[in-house]
């Protein structure tokens, strides 16, 4: 039996040539729905009247799998959630599980975790910028961003052996200390990267067409953003100064200095500026990590089998896309009783309808781009 895609609220049978409304099926193979998102648009001319998202094409039951394997084994599965920024997911999982214990995680591991977390933020934001610019038609930025993203992936390869799904961290620290070469290359990257961000900005930030396409499009107020549960750069773009790295610090963030950028109008352009500034801030954080990186072991002593005490915890981190959290119920055995992933893309995507209705088709593409979704984590 093969499952059929969800029947939409929107009637697919409405007339093709009617003056009134045109139903368009965007995706799941559309070039700018970023994966296998399917958006059913109801158009009046070029204006969007109604919209329905069909997701789940990438649903793999990750939560169910999590309930059947042990805590360490689940780390690689988290890689496959937000595969654009895999180390960030690892970080969320290991910090969540570590919350059950009172292990003393070595500072070296904490700093490297923060550093790799920021690198993955850069990787994620670069991919976002690349595809977002391509959606709006600026195709050169796409490849420029990929050049730097490639550098970040090379760094991951140097440190952990993997490039996309790196399986970076272990419970209690790192699998093993990062090689010296990684630190050297990271320093080189940090030295180069800010000028590269300037390059992207010369192409976009003051470009008249870019401004026209992004300013006052897809506006969401701070109140609405909270109501819709939007997190990450989107809510910051609406002017809420809230970053989990500051609000609920984890890893080495309490010791690091950085600015949480916020926008004013909550339009696409503000989200763009917020993410661009985050690229710079991430570079700054990595620089600090490199300077302050303490010596010592990269992992603390952990028991051979991870058996958290009975109880339930929720822990979340600031993923590039937003608040990425795990709710874990432990029954005292080696496998979790319940694993819940709090997916930022999924919840942010829930706000798409509110953002898009009344806008033009071309804006839908820009708005989807500005939400920055990754379907692996949205569908889990």
């Amino acid at each position: 039996m093969v499952g059929v895609a969800n029947v939409s609220r929107i009637d697919q049978q409405s007339t093709l040539h009617g003056t009134e409304e045109l139903v368009i099926n965007m995706g799941p193979q559309h070039p700018s729905t970023h994966g296998v998102l399917r958006v059913i648009l109801k158009l009046d001319g070029e204006t969007v009247n109604d919209l329905d998202c069909d997701i789940g094409y990438l649903h793999r039951g990750t939560e169910k799998i999590g309930e059947n394997i042990n805590y360490t084994m689940f780390i690689p599965y988290t890689d496959r959630l937000d595969y654009i920024a895999a180390p960030s997911n690892n970080l969320a999982w290991v910090t969540a599980v570590e919350k059950f214990f009172d292990w003393e995680i070595p500072m070296r591991a904490q700093y490297i975790r923060s550093m790799v977390g920021e690198l993955s933020r850069i990787a994620s934001h670069l991919l976002w910028l690349a595809t977002h610019a391509l959606d709006i038609g600026a195709m050169t930025v796409f490849l420029w961003c990929f050049r730097e993203r490639e550098m970040v992936l090379d760094l991951f390869e140097t440190a952990f052996g993997g490039r996309l799904t790196v399986n970076a961290f272990r419970l209690g620290g790192l699998h093993e200390d990062v090689p010296e070469k990684f630190l050297q290359l990271t320093q080189e990257f940090v030295d180069i990267f800010p000028s590269r961000v300037d390059d992207y900005e010369t192409l976009l930030t003051n470009n008249r067409i870019w401004l026209q396409r992004t300013r006052d499009v897809g506006i969401i107020s701070a109140e609405d953003a909270m109501d819709l549960g939007l997190t990450g750069p989107i809510i910051r773009g609406s002017g809420v100064k809230w970053d989990l790295r500051r609000a609920k610090p984890y890893a080495a963030y309490p010791y690091l200095d950085f600015v949480v950028p916020i926008g004013e109008n909550g339009d696409i352009y503000d989200r763009y500026l917020v993410r661009i500034e985050e690229l710079r801030q991430s570079t700054y954080i990595i620089q600090q990590c490199l300077e302050q990186l303490p010596g010592g072991p990269a992992s603390c002593k952990t028991p051979r089998t991870i058996k958290p005490p009975e109880g339930e915890i929720y822990h979340s981190i600031e993923n590039p896309k937003g608040e990425f959290g795990f709710y874990i119920v432990s029954d005292g055995t080696t496998t979790p009783y319940r694993v819940r992933i709090r997916p930022p893309s999924f919840i942010n995507l829930g706000g798409l309808k509110k953002l898009c209705v009344g806008q033009l088709v071309a804006d839908v593409v820009a708005i989807i781009g500005s939400i920055d979704i990754v379907l692996g984590e949205c569908d889990r």
Partner: protein, 323 residues
Amino acid sequence: MDMALEVAVAAIKIFIVVNVVQLVVAYLIYVERKVIAHAQLRLGPMRVGWHGLLQPIADGLKLFLKEDIVPDKADRVVFVLAPVMVLVPALVVYAVLPFSATFYITQINIGLFFVLAISSLGVFGVVMAGWASNSKYSLLGALRSAAQMLSYEIFLGFSVIGPLMLAGSLNLQEIVHAQRDVWFVFYQPVAFIVFFVAALAETNRAPFDLPEAETELVAGFHTEYSGMKFAFFFLAEYASMMVISTIGIVLFFGGWEGPDFIPLPGFVWYVLKLSVFMFVFIWLRATLPRYRYDQLMRVGWKFMFPLVMLNIFLTGFLKYLFL
């Protein structure tokens, strides 16, 4: 006997021009890929031949050998005719273009008007393709395209009036002769800007490539096309790019004539100027994001239209005063 000779010469000329244009267009695509690739820190085609020089031929072969698909619910006749309707006007226009003082197929007294008229027919192919595909993306692309090309045709038409008033003729050769001393771009900078923007929109090039905006409408009006029919659309796009550039050169940059102190044949001057134009077209594509539909219309009607009208009035006034 004379008549037969004339016809034979014309046929040979047409044969040469059409074939050269096809070949140049194929290599134009190659150049575009190379230029954009280098703008984007890539190498572009490298595998087929030295630096990928045989790539256009490989592409052509691939497109030629591809299965020719006509969608089930498409209107067969119109679907097949549409690419022809796009390509034929783009090539017919070459009949009156002056490539050099001596090399042209024909010259007629309504030359420029003929070019405008024939190239306005390209929109039919686009609309036919969009409608006949029976696909919503294609239809949306066709609707956008019809509105866009219709609107920008007006600005294109008005922007050439300025140089026309200076030259006093619609004959393309005579417009070139009128610029022996000073290129019209110096007299008519505003008209040139409007002309260039309208030219971008007319040929559906970035930043006005909305009808085929791949990130919104998949591929716009040619979403359902494949193989040789798709290639026709491609050839037509680049052929009309060359047409519109040639018109720009003739109207504003002295056509095939260059400064006297550099003794180069007229045809070489023409090719040089054409290359610059082509490069700017490609360069813009690598640089600029895409306009939105309503912004495109706003730019046209609220900015370019008043500008070009003002230009016509000023030109007329100044010509009355000084000439």
